[in-house]
Structure formats: C-alpha cells, structure tokens
C-alpha cells in the first residue's frame, strides 16, 4: 500500500471547514477504541466524557472557566503562528502574568482601592508580554531559536513561582502551607452570572478573539502578519519588517497569556500556589490548531478542549478510568487535526496494489 499526494490547484474551501470536524470524529473513534482496550464500555465512557459535563449548570460554569484561559492564550498564539513565530512558552508567560498581577494583592495587600483590579490586570498583561519579550529579543536581535528559548523559560517561570510561594510570598498566617495570602475582595475578578462561578475572564477571552479576528481581517496589520508568515521575502518587498513582527506577535501573545494568568488566579484560585495551571499554555497550542488559527474557530475549539478537562474528571468519577485519559485525548486530537489539514492542500490517493509502482521502476 502506498499513499500519494497530489497538490490541489486551489485550497479546498470544503475541507478547510470540514477538517476540524473530521479530526474530532476520528479522535472520538480512537477514544472509543482506547476505552475498549481499557475494558470499559466505549459508549458509556464516551457519554460520561463528552456529554455528562454538559448536563448541569455548575459544570457548564466550570466549562467556561476552563475555556477562558485556553481561548485567550490560543488567540494570541494564532497571531504568532500565522506570522511564523513559534512561541511555545505560553505556559511560562501565563505564570509570569499571574505573578506580576499578584504583586498588588500579595505585597501591597493593605492598599484598598477600586483601582486594584484594573491595575492587576494591566500588570498581568505586562508581565506576560515582558516575559515573552525575552525570546522575542533573542530571536529578533541575536538570531536565537524562539522554540527552544520560550520553552526553557517555562521551566524557569515554574521554579520562580515555586520559590515565591514557598519563600518571600508565603502567607505568614498560612500554617506553613506553600500559598500566598488569599486576595482581598477588591482584588477578585467578579462573577459574571448569579448562577455560578464563571468570571469576567471568559468575557476577556471572547473580546480578545473578536478584536484579533477584526485585526486579521480588516486591518493592514493583519495583512502584514499573514504575508510575513507565508514568505518573509515577500513581506520585505512589501516594506514589512520581520524583526518588528517578531516583537509584535510575541508580545501580543505574551500579553494574552499574562492576562489569562492573572484572570485565572484572581477569578478562580484567589491566591498563588506552586501550581496554578493544568498545562493551559500547552493545551492552548492544540486549541489554536483545532481552531485553524482563526480567532472565531478558536472560541469553539477552546470549549471543546475545556470539555476534555471536565470529561476526564467526570470519567474518573463515573467509570473509574484515569483522568490521564484527558492528555491522551488532547494529544490524539492535535494529531488528527494536523493530518486532516493535509486534505486542504492535497488530494490523497491510496494505492493498494504494489504492482503499479514496481512496474514503472522496472522499466528504467
């Protein structure tokens, strides 16, 4: 058996729309097989994984809480990836945003003012943007590979947070637990609805998605991003600077990740702990690709990936499979998304018989 690709004369619009859905279906099929191998009834398992979390109001709120950081980070990443800048350190920028935003409620906890919350959010964005500025500077001016540097800085950020909450920022009245003091009321991002815990982070995520969608579609900046991403040379001829684009895209995605970080801490956790993210920064990479790097697609994709987090917890409770299934699902999904994207640019032909190929070779 052989697989041959034939370049389509034009990008297939049909498959551009269909490919994420095909990927989802394939992931679910693969998931069913996996549950079968684990000795569970696949239908029960899929039901508790993908449907159960959608049936109750509180868990819909949890869905929004988990989707918010995923969407916000992925929207920023989409700009990076479209312009061919591979920021994979969003997890670190998320953490640094959370830390920078927490300076006010942890260090200056005695300062009470309605300005606290807006300042926290701004500082969170700034923290994330500056942290992303490190790989941006290194790439733009010292020619250093941003994939590796941004990833290395994730580990550094995690260790820095660990040191802060065990050392200088540890709650003096906290019985030696590695936590900061809990935030005062005016430092907490308010809930959106009276029915549950969803906070304003979700609104930020949707707003960011719409703003970036608008920028990509209707502004010169959007054109600049796609032109430079497709061909740096073409971009240079058009007078665009790839160096400035590195700075712009990395700082923008850093700011988004930082905002996600401080929103998560202020809205959902309300203090700093050694671990504040179940890998949102990495999962957001999957969200960005499942959403086909389109901010509006990313909103839907963020909800799907948030569901895999909830589904993992639900499946653990109701049918006793490990919640580690979540990571497997997320990885499989990204694989299928990437393989289905091939359909957009190529026709895939599967050649079953070996004879055709060997006959041609033999003719030489």
């Amino acid at each position: 058996m052989r697989i041959e690709l034939e370049k389509r004369p034009k990008i297939s619009t049909l498959f551009s729309i269909l490919s994420p859905f095909i990927a989802l279906i394939l992931t679910i099929i693969a998931g069913a097989i996996m549950f079968m191998l684990l000795g569970k009834n696949p239908l029960d398992a899929l039901y508790s994984f993908f449907v159960e979390p959608l049936l109750e109001v509180w868990s819909l709120h949890e869905l929004a809480i988990k989707a918010a950081p995923l969407i916000l980070i992925a929207v920023g990443l989409s700009v990076c990836y479209r312009s061919n800048n591979w920021n994979i350190g969003a997890e670190g920028q998320f953490i640094m945003g959370a830390i920078a935003g927490s300076i006010l409620p942890v260090v200056f906890y005695e300062w009470h003012s309605p300005l606290v919350l807006p300042l926290m959010l701004l500082m969170g964005m700034l923290g994330g943007a500056l942290y992303a500025g490190i790989p941006a500077f290194l790439k733009a001016h010292l020619n250093t590979n941003e994939i590796l540097t941004s990833l290395m800085l994730v580990y550094v950020a995690q260790l820095f947070l660990d040191w802060l909450v065990r050392g200088p920022w540890r709650n003096p009245d906290g019985m030696n637990f590695p936590e900061t003091r809990t935030f005062a009321a005016e430092a907490i991002l308010p809930e959106l609805l009276s029915s549950g815990r969803t906070h304003w982070g979700f609104v930020f995520a949707i707003l960011a998605a719409i703003l970036v969608w608008f920028m990509m579609r209707y502004t010169l900046k959007g054109l600049e991003i796609s032109v430079l991403g497709q061909s740096e040379r073409a971009g240079r001829f058009a007078g665009f600077s790839s160096r400035k684009m590195i700075w712009f895209s990395m700082m923008l995605s850093g700011a988004c990740a930082g905002l996600a970080g401080i929103a998560e801490v202020s809205g959902a956790i309300q203090q700093l702990r050694p671990v504040i993210s179940p890998g949102y920064g990495f999962t957001a990479i999957i969200v960005a690709f499942l959403g086909r790097l389109n901010p509006l697609g990313i909103i839907a994709a963020g909800l799907v990936l948030a569901l895999t987090y909830l589904g993992g917890e639900a499946a653990q409770l109701s049918i006793g499979v490990s919640e580690k299934v979540t990571r497997v699902f997320q990885g499989l999904l990204l694989f299928f998304v990437l393989s289905c994207d091939t359909l957009i640019h190529y026709k895939i032909r599967v050649i079953w018989s070996k004879l055709g190929g060997t006959a041609v070779d033999g003719g030489h």
């Binding site: 550094v156 990571r327 990885g331």
Partner: protein
Amino acid sequence: MSIVEAILLTIITASTPLVLAALGELVTERSGVLNLGVEGMMIMGAVCAFAATQMSGSPYIGILAGIASGALFSLLFGFLTLTLVANQVATGLALTILGLGVSGMIGEGFVGMSGIKLQPIAIPLLSDLPYIGSLLFRQDIIFYLSIALVVGVNWFLFKSRAGLRLRSVGDSHASAHALGINVIRTRYLAVMFGGACAGLAGAQLSLVYTPQWVENMSAGRGWIALALVVFASWRPWRLVAGGYLFGAVSISQLHAQAFGIGIPSQVLSALPYLATVVVLILISHNRRTTLINTPASLGKPFVPDR
C-alpha cells in the same frame, strides 16, 4: 572511591541520556527533518522500559522495549510529516503532548514500585586501570552503547556512502531526489533512528538514573537534547562535549545542596534551563556560521513530483 570520582560518575550518568537523545536527533536533522517530539519519545522509552523490566524481570528486555517504543512512536511523526507533509513543528509538539499523556496512562500502575537497576559490567583488565578504570570501564551497557553510537554515527555520516546520501537529502532534497535517492525512505529511517535513540535515553532514565517510574520524569531533557544539537552544530563529537557539560550543570544542583551552599534549590534547578538559553545565544548570534552549519532543507516539507 574519592569524592571527585563519585562526582564524575554522577556526571556521566546524568549526561548519557542527553548524549543519546541528542545523537538520534542529530541524525534526524541531518536528513532535513526537525522532530521536536524528542521529549515525548524519551518519556515513552522510559515508561516502556520500566514496564517491560518489571514484567520480565530483566532490565535488558527493558532496554529493548525502550528502543522499540521510541522507534515505533517516532513512526507516527514520520507518517504525518513525511507521508502527509504536516507541519513539522506542530507535529513534533503533538508527539510530545501525546507521549506525556500515554506514558502517564501506561505508567499509572507502576508508580511507587521500586525498579530493577541495570548493573554495571566491568571490562576485564581495563577496569583495573587507576582512576579511569572505575569511571569508564565499570559502567552499564547503555553508557558503552552511547559511546559506540557516537563513534558509529560519526563514521556513518562522514565516511560512508549511505551517510553522504543522508546528508545530501538534508542539504537539498530536490537535488537528492533528482539523483535518484529515495528522500522519503531515507528520512523515515533517520526519524526512526532518532526515535530509537530517544527511547534508549528514556530507558537509561528509568533503569539507571533513577530506577523507578515517575510521571514526566524526563523533565525537559528532550528539549535540552534539541538545544544540544544546535550547540554541537550537527557534529557528533561536539555533541559529546556539550552533553557532558550539560550533565555537569544539571548534576551540580545535587552537589551544591550536599555542600550546603545557601542558594535556593529552585535557582539551582533552573540552571540547566538557563544554561541552555545562554548556550543557544552564544552559538547562534552569528547568523553566518549558523547558516553554514544548519542542514539547508531542515524543516522543509518534500513532496516527490511525478
């Protein structure tokens, strides 16, 4: 055994997985493929090696399982990037994410079990040499393999015909294709070699370095291995130097703690990652030398025309 010897021994143990994983990736990248999934293949190797050792009772079966799982796992990457020409950066990330997830699931039943440590093999006569005898010739088989592989890969790449073909595929896949070299097959083999080496590196972690299974126990070593390839400018012997330098940095935190130096442990733990960044800066700030050394087709997809 003196303190110096003990420290050198731990450095060797910490460096071997870095050298192995980076060596595999070096061959993969020389063929023009950038596989960012080293971390994922490594952790799969670690968990499969540990599981196979526990079930069979023999760490040698474990080593084979580690190699096989790494190679098989890399095939997934190969299929996507070589057959379906998916984006190599994104697919490599997917491999890492999937590897961390699958290994967590496989390893769940093995958490907390005490493993079987791979025993050293003393080489007759040589192991009796003063100083270097106990350091270099009383080691486990994975260390010997790592050195043999470096020698072998160096010979293969620069002295053999097949190695020349592999390099030509990495430098210009279009020309290599025109010369009748099967680009896709060459790259599949290179990717699988990279996977096998990463799997072996993982086996070293769970059978020698810390003979047990801990989730995410590769702790970024796969990524450091990727940086090492750049550091070594795609040459095997420089890679050994870099690998041992990094091994020394990463082990220094343990020794610094033992000597009671008053630096927060987190700072010491961050050292290998910071060192990676610094080294990358030093190596790549000169745009011209980077361009000369990097395989010219690295990361670029290839679709044979017909």
